[in-house]
């Protein structure tokens, strides 16, 4: 598997990368967060865009954001993604949704329900690209 070495890197005890998971559905959030921790990532959890922003501002470095598109509270994942691009342009973003995006976006997208291993593979790919400036 092309990403097996990357997963071994995450588990090898090297400084873990931090993923911010933004998801309003608690059971989905817990599932993906625990899977990512099992893969060796450090994970921050946010239930909405406002919490995500607080973590991005105050909770130390975040290496990638995985965010649901449709969330309550007035700000969806696409708006959050644009906020992140403006303030933290180097952070890769993955958007997820059960519905295809209805407005233009260049962000990597995972259609729900998504396979957890596929999500991890995409995360590793984006982190590798970010590290090499790709």
């Amino acid at each position: 598997m092309p990403f097996a070495r990357d997963q071994e890197f995450e588990r090898s005890g090297n400084s873990p990368r931090t993923i911010l998971v933004v998801e309003d559905e608690i059971l989905i959030r817990l599932l993906i967060a625990e899977h990512l921790r099992d893969c060796g990532f450090k994970v921050r959890e946010a239930g909405n865009a406002a919490e995500a922003k607080e973590l991005l501002v105050s909770a130390g470095p975040i290496d990638l954001v995985l965010s649901d598109v449709n969330m309550p509270g007035g700000e969806d994942g696409i708006a959050l993604a644009h906020w992140i691009v403006h303030r933290h342009p180097m952070i890769p973003i993955i958007l997820t949704s059960a519905l295809p995006p209805t407005r233009g976006t260049n962000f990597p997208f995972l259609a729900k329900p998504y396979d957890l291993e596929a999500a991890v593979a995409l995360i590793l790919l984006l982190l590798r690209d970010a590290a090499t400036g790709g």
Partner: protein
């Protein structure tokens, strides 16, 4: 869900971790993410499996999903009525009597009410140190083991 791997690194001030063969699960319920996240991370480093909930609604979803939770640590300040930490504690006691509850709040005058719900004295006042939280959690979970 798979149990998380062992701690990535214990701080020099971390007390002893729970039994290594079966990490116990703590559900941290707090709407202030900058309070919830550091506590959750600290408890994970101490060896617990930690789940995070933004509010009582999420907490109930977790418990009703059949996820075994050994202790609920919930903020009792802020929301009132059915969404309050006190209401959650009562609900947990009624529906999941084996699950311990530890409440925390900024509200000093709620201490008496909380004492009716929590096993060991009044609720934990905010701001709290993580070490104090850990000791209270360990006491509550050890009392459950002694009765088992």
């Amino acid at each position: 869900m798979a149990h998380p791997a062992g701690s990535t690194g214990m701080s020099s001030s971390s007390p002893s971790a729970p039994s290594a063969h079966e990490p116990q699960t703590i559900l941290v319920v707090d709407g202030e993410v900058l309070i919830r996240m550091p506590l959750a991370e600290y408890l994970r480093e101490c060896g617990y499996r930690v789940l995070e909930a933004v509010n009582s609604v999420e907490a109930k979803i977790v418990l009703d999903a059949g996820i075994e939770v050994n202790l609920v640590f919930a903020d009792a300040s802020g929301l009132t009525g059915e969404e309050s930490g006190f209401a959650l504690a009562s609900w947990v006691r009624q529906h999941y009597p084996e699950t311990k509850v530890l409440l925390t709040s900024h509200v000093a005058d709620a201490a008496g009410k909380a004492a009716d719900l929590c096993e060991k004295g009044p609720l934990l006042a905010k701001p709290y140190s993580h070490e104090v939280v850990l000791r209270r959690i360990q006491t509550l979970l050890q009392s459950r083991e002694r009765r088992a």
